[in-house]
């Protein structure tokens, strides 16, 4: 006689949203309570944030002052110059991304920036007549660079020189060449500001790199005079905060160089302070890398007959620098954030523009002021760039780690 066996219970699902919820949010009574309590708090906070952002906030002042946030007092008819520099940067970034290929760290970073440029291009086409053509050109420059990099991967060799050329040419283009009037007239650095100035100061990390490497090599040198000089420099500079060095540089640089205080623009004093400060930190990062290079590498190089100079430049430094790239990116993030301190020498960077906008007469007409709106906007922009860099740094760390093992 056929007796059907009782049906087996359906298998417990091991995937799907319900399982995920049970595993991650409601795995135990205490976890359930935790989820409900924190969930309520988060929902309340997000609701209030949304209420503020979409209902209560008055974003008009932020929108009306976009040019100030971007370039401060840089002449409106010369906006093509900073945007040409931006186009150059996107072109080079695009070339790097193209060489790296889809999914590489540089490509990810490039497309994130390209997204921002795209957004700005749309806004420019719709609302900003003076840069209606220029922003899309920046976008195009990025794509051209990307295609070039994909088509001819060998441009990678020329890239360091291209970046150096961009750095020098960019400063020339921003500053101008002829006094007086015309499209190439000089724009004094006191008119630079906003995000443009933040980026210009951020490039202080470029000259700080060779300085930092030199200091690191000096610190590991066997010659006591050089070693202790480097130790003293690094430790004294790292011992005090950047804001103090900026302040001291603005006071003392004219005295030290014995020049008239007005002939030394504030941007130059800030740049010197930022570069030297950054170099001291760079030196410590590089030293970490130098110590990580196995002794055998040096000994092998010497055994092969390489000179001390060759050993350092061809064997030790390449390995040391490769190991500390994540740390250097981390330092770059720190420096990017620290450029906000130049308000102390009277420069009007992106952060300081926010303050100026919040005390404009039109801002004071708004009940309760617009400080919250303005500083939220600034925070979001800083966050975008810093977070993008930290994502890249993490990817880099993962990649390098895999390579070492």
């Amino acid at each position: 006689m056929f007796v059907p066996i009782a049906p087996r219970p359906a298998p417990v699902p091991t995937r799907g949203p319900v399982v995920w919820l049970r595993k991650n949010l409601f795995s135990s009574p205490s976890n359930t309570v935790l989820t409900i309590v924190t969930g309520t708090v988060v929902a309340f906070a997000l609701y209030n944030l949304a209420l503020f952002v979409f209902v209560d906030a008055s974003w008009g002042q932020v929108w009306a002052n976009m040019k100030l946030f971007g370039v401060y007092r840089y002449p409106a008819d010369l906006l093509w110059r900073p945007l040409a520099v931006a186009a150059g940067m996107m072109f080079l970034l695009g070339a790097m991304a193209g060489v790296g290929g889809r999914g590489s760290i540089t490509a990810n970073a490039f497309f994130a920036f390209q997204g921002l440029v795209g957004l700005l291009s749309v806004l420019a086409v719709l609302f900003w007549p003076s840069v209606r053509v220029l922003w899309p050109m920046v976008l195009v420059a990025g794509f051209v660079g990307f295609l070039l990099g994909r088509a001819r991967p060998r441009v990678v060799r020329a890239l360091p020189w291209a970046w150096a050329a961009w750095f020098v040419l960019g400063l020339v283009v921003l500053y101008g060449v002829v006094p007086g009037t015309g499209p190439l007239r000089v724009v004094p650095s006191r008119d630079w500001g906003g995000f443009l100035l933040t980026l210009v100061l951020f490039t202080g990390i470029i000259p700080s790199f060779p300085l930092g490497v030199a200091l690191a090599l000096g610190r590991t040198s066997r010659l006591p005079a050089i070693k202790y000089f480097c130790i003293a420099f690094i430790e004294i500079v790292r011992g005090a905060p950047l804001i103090m060095w900026l302040f001291i540089a603005s006071l003392l640089l004219p005295l030290i160089l014995n020049v008239d205080a007005n002939s030394l623009p504030a941007i130059m004093r800030a740049y010197v302070a930022i570069t030297l400060f950054s170099a001291a930190y760079m030196a410590e990062n590089v030293r970490g890398g130098l110590q990580a290079v196995p002794r055998g590498q040096v000994e092998a190089a010497r055994a092969l007959g390489l000179s001390a100079w060759q050993t350092t430049m061809l064997i030790v430094l390449p390995q040391a620098l490769r190991a500390v790239i994540p740390a250097i990116v981390g330092q770059a993030i720190g420096l990017f954030k620290d450029t906000s301190l130049v308000f102390i020498v009277g420069l009007v960077d992106f952060f300081r523009v926010a303050d100026l906008v919040s005390v404009q007469p039109q801002s004071l007409l708004v009940t309760g002021g617009v400080k919250l709106e303005v500083f939220l906007f600034v925070a979001v922009i800083y966050f975008f760039f810093a977070y993008r860099m930290s994502v890249a740094s993490r990817q880099l760390e993962r990649q390098l780690g895999v390579g070492v093992r």
Binding site: P224, A225, M244, N258, F343, F351, T367, A379, Y382, F383
Partner: protein, 602 residues
């Protein structure tokens, strides 16, 4: 077995000095030193000529001059007539005040968030991740200004309408005030007991350690020294507090119509202020007046609001409020609605006639603004408040006025008559002088410690411990910013503890909490502490951004001093020296910690 001798190539031919590494090194160093010395010489020469040309001071003699820098928040006594040196010292103490409080709270929040990052609960984990990523990637300067100018200045209500939290904590847009314990003139009687308690605690510690060592057992760690210390200290406090007599010659000169007085002690005919003694101020009947106004509070326009100094309804037997001109108010249809009886009220016109206040009724529909300039009188009967004198012996209350009716009876010509009262010994000596403003004061006897509670006599916090909004914003921003970094260090440290440790602890039957607190965290601490200490140093250095919150710490004071005196070089040297000293102190602590944490290997 064969022995082979290696013949070294006879290095008879001397190496020429330009190929001798040693000589080359020495030459290189000499050249380097010469270059450095020459460079420094040129720079020093430049500086001295520049200083001489600009006629700026180059030595430290300016430090003794009168500073004239107002500092809102001073841990030690400081006035604008003090010297530059003292102003700088106050700045240094303010830096420490930020650093110590910041380090404590940043550690607590950092550990909490770091542990949250490893939670099995997705929501908790995600919140912690967002917290860390968000705060690490926004410049500290932006965060300080955000907390200061965008949150703490506009959002908490104004000073005369503070947020009152349980325990007598007051928060307003000028800052935070909390009850605080201060040592009184009787503190000296307690000191011997404290010293004794400390000695006993040390003795107990030493004895226990010895006896445990002798028996070679791991005892259950009872906090015997702490218990011994507490018992002796409490007994001593009770004994010392038993005698509550006031020292001879104590009095208070209090002017009710100025709302202030000084507690003093007369020694050899001279009055010295007496700090931290409670004074009971009683006013038989008095008035406070306020006028309705429009203002912006918590980013909203508040119309027709009447603000009195903060008076609690339990502080008086009877409180009555009425319009100064009842007839005119009646004619206009004004009524009073209390947000906080009796100090915060709204003038409104009951337009819809339902007898209660409805939002919108405080605004005049014709003009679009509130009913401004309506005077309201608060009549207090039997007002009594115990005020603890501050460190300068000052006692402050609201500025009372003579009740209008009585003033008219006695002295119609003088609206604000002045009453001066003093009290000697424990019982108050009342002297009704020329004024009808019935107020008397009584200095109360007190034990070694006194709890001072905050009050708002006029438009400032008095009593308690007060923190300006500048300090709060700075500490808040520093704590939150640093805690994000500490959280990442804590997470890394906990993850670095081998899995086997956790599993072994669980296998031994330890609860999840015990596993974490007794096994995992102590081992993680070894990895966590060194980088966390460098974060503490960062926090201390970052406090130099105080200028963004208007808080006078070392760097801010120094920059003001430099601007005032032009002594750029000496101030720069002082600043560098101070920060190097702080860094050095931290690295000493770090080395000590590293030495203690080093694994003891057998």
């Amino acid at each position: 077995m064969t022995t082979s001798t290696v013949q070294a190539p006879a290095p008879d031919a001397p190496v020429p000095f330009w190929r001798n590494v040693k000589t080359l090194g020495i030459i290189a160093q000499i050249v380097f030193v010469l270059l450095v010395v020459a460079g420094i010489g040129v720079l020093v020469n430049n500086v001295t000529t520049a200083l001489a040309r600009a006629n700026l001071p180059a030595d430290f003699s300016f430090l003794r001059q009168r500073a004239g820098i107002p500092i809102a928040e001073t841990p030690i006594r400081y006035t604008v007539t003090d010297s530059y040196a003292r102003a700088l010292f106050v700045g240094f103490l303010n830096t420490l005040k930020v650093a110590i409080v910041g380090v404590v709270f940043a550690s607590l929040i950092g550990v909490l968030v770091g542990v949250m990052r490893l939670s099995t609960n997705w929501l908790v984990r995600t919140i912690a991740t967002v917290y860390v990523e968000l705060l690490r990637n926004i410049p500290l300067a932006v965060q300080i200004v955000f907390w200061y100018a965008a949150i703490l200045l506009p959002f908490p209500p104004r000073i005369n309408n503070p947020v009152t939290l349980p325990g007598g904590i007051l928060l307003s847009n000028v800052g935070l005030a909390v009850p605080w314990v201060y040592p009184t003139y009787r503190f000296g009687a307690w000191v011997p007991w404290l010293v004794g308690a400390l000695l006993i605690a040390v003795a107990v510690t030493v004895l226990r350690r010895r006896s445990l060592a002798r028996r070679d057992v791991v005892g259950v760690v009872w906090p015997f020294p702490v218990v011994a210390f507490t018992v002796v200290a409490v007994v001593g406090y009770l004994v010392a507090a038993g005698d509550r007599s006031l020292p001879p010659g104590v009095g208070v000169d209090f002017a009710a119509d100025r709302g202030r007085g000084t507690v003093y002690r007369e020694v050899d005919g001279r009055r010295q202020p007496l700090a931290f003694v409670p004074v009971r101020v009683s006013v038989e009947s008095a008035q406070l007046r306020a006028t309705s106004q429009n203002l912006v509070e918590s980013r909203r326009r508040v119309d027709s609001t009447v603000r009195f100094p903060l008076v609690h309804d339990y502080e008086a037997e009877a409180i009555e409020l009425e319009f100064a001109d009842p007839a005119a108010a009646e004619a206009a249809g004004y009524r009073l609605h209390f947000e906080r009886f009796p100090s915060v009220a709204t003038v409104y016109v009951d337009r819809n006639g339902n007898g209660v206040f409805d939002p919108g009724e405080e605004t005049d529909p014709d003009t679009g603004v509130g009913y401004n300039g309506v005077e309201v009188v608060m009549s207090l009967t039997g007002f009594e408040r115990v005020v603890v004198s501050d460190r300068d012996g000052q006692v402050r209350t609201p500025i009372f006025a003579v009740p209008a009716a009585e003033a008219a009876e006695s002295e119609p010509a003088v609206p604000a008559a002045r009453g001066r009262f003093s009290a000697f010994g424990q019982a108050a000596v009342q002297q009704a002088s020329e004024s009808v403003l019935e107020a008397h004061t009584e200095v109360l006897g007190v034990g070694p410690l006194v709890v001072s509670r905050a009050s708002i006599p006029v438009t400032t916090f008095e009593g308690g411990a007060r923190f300006t909004v500048n300090y709060l914003a700075l500490v808040l921003a520093l704590v939150i910013y640093t805690s994000a970094f500490i959280a990442e260090i804590v997470r890394g440290g906990i993850q670095a503890v081998p899995r086997g440790q956790r599993e072994a602890a669980m296998a031994l039957g330890l609860s999840p909490y015990q596993t974490f607190a007794l096994v995992v965290f102590p081992q993680a601490l070894r990895i966590i502490l060194p980088p966390v200490i460098s974060q503490y140093l960062n926090l201390t250095k970052n406090s130099s951004l105080a200028t963004l919150a208007g808080y006078a710490e070392l760097f801010v004071v120094a920059s003001v001093v430099s601007n005032q005196t032009g002594a750029a070089i000496p101030v720069a040297l002082l600043l560098i020296g101070s920060y190097l000293a702080i860094s050095l102190a931290f690295s000493l602590v770090l080395n000590n910690v590293n030495a203690r944490l080093a694994l003891v290997e057998r």
